[in-house]
């Protein structure tokens, strides 16, 4: 079994309003020294296969088709 961890976040050029709000909240709690905050989501998949190459291909397709909206989001896949 392979576990796939998919991290999805807004693309670099796309304004992340939630990240900005969290940044403001950290500022108001006096956590200084935070340069930038980006909020994303993590999707964890348990796969039946043991083949990492196949798993990577499958999960990439899942990201392109459903898990991420590539108009506004980037995704990173980690297999463990």
């Amino acid at each position: 079994m392979i576990k796939a961890i998919v991290n999805i976040s807004l693309k670099a050029g796309v304004l992340d309003s939630q990240g900005k709000a969290v940044h403001h909240a950290l500022d108001s709690l006096h956590f200084s020294g935070v340069d930038d905050v980006r909020v994303g989501k993590q999707i964890i998949l348990k796969l039946e296969t043991d083949d990492k190459t196949a798993a990577m291909a499958d999960v990439t397709k899942m990201c392109e088709d459903l898990l991420a909206n590539t108009v506004i989001e980037d995704y990173e896949i980690e297999l463990v």
Binding site: L10, G13, V14, L15, S17, Q18, A21, L66, L67, N69, V71, I72
Partner: protein, 224 residues
């Protein structure tokens, strides 16, 4: 004139939409998302507002895989007229039938109020009863209405007169409630048969309820 209205789990504007179009004299039919076809006599297909699949993952992301969406894509590619209102707009962008995407509102709040819109391009069936520069007053009710498109895509929209409506004040000066690129509230595809907007014209059909500016918008479809 037959208006077919799609209903997904979580759609909640299908009956308002039906009421609005029937008030204008159209025949209507509500079609459940499990249907693999749409009625063959459909003149206009409306993807109504609401929260399909609870907005899980992203607004409209799961609805695009409902059985009926294949028929919707075929209908649109054969030149059939499709209108997506609010969540319907989100579904159509997720399905790739309209360019761009709808993000969380910049202020992070759900916004529910009347808002003025300016008609940017009326050379299409949807807005043909209106003129460029007209200002209408239409309710908005959304959390993810922040229209995004990359600079190249935006250039294309302008080049093909696909920007239909922008958010303004009552005098037509730009006023952006949600962070949308260039205050865009509604667009269409290049072929001008697929339309999407976040505001709800079907909720602006009677002056006693605040505005009847939606009548002129929806009537455009009925004159064809």
């Amino acid at each position: 004139m037959k208006v077919t209205i799609l209903q997904f789990p979580g759609t909640n504007c299908e009956y308002d939409t039906q009421h609005a179009f029937e008030g204008l004299g159209a025949d209507t039919e509500i079609v459940w998302h499990k249907s693999e076809s749409i009625p063959s006599d459909t003149n206009l297909l409306v993807v109504a507002g609401g929260f399909s699949y609870g907005d899980y993952l992203r607004s409209g992301a799961i609805a695009k895989f409902s059985p009926v969406m294949k028929a919707v894509s075929e209908y649109a590619s054969n030149g059939g007229k499709v209108l997506g209102i609010c969540n319907g707009f989100q579904v159509l962008t997720e399905a790739g039938l309209l360019p761009g995407a709808l993000k969380r509102n910049d202020g992070l709040h759900f916004i529910s109020k009347h808002h003025h819109l300016k008609v940017e391009n009326s050379d299409n069936i949807f807005l043909e009863k209106l003129d460029n520069g007209d200002v209408v007053n239409i309710p908005i009710a959304h959390h993810d209405g922040n229209y995004f498109i990359d600079p190249d895509g935006l250039k294309d929209l302008y080049a093909n007169n696909q920007v239909l409506l922008t958010y303004t004040d009552e005098n037509g000066n730009s006023k952006n409630p949600n962070g949308s690129v260039d205050s865009i509230a509604g667009i269409c595809n290049k072929e001008k048969n697929v339309f999407g907007l976040m505001p709800h014209p079907e909720r602006a059909m009677e002056a006693i309820l605040g505005s009847d500016d939606g009548v002129k918008m929806l009537q455009g479809f009925l004159s064809a």
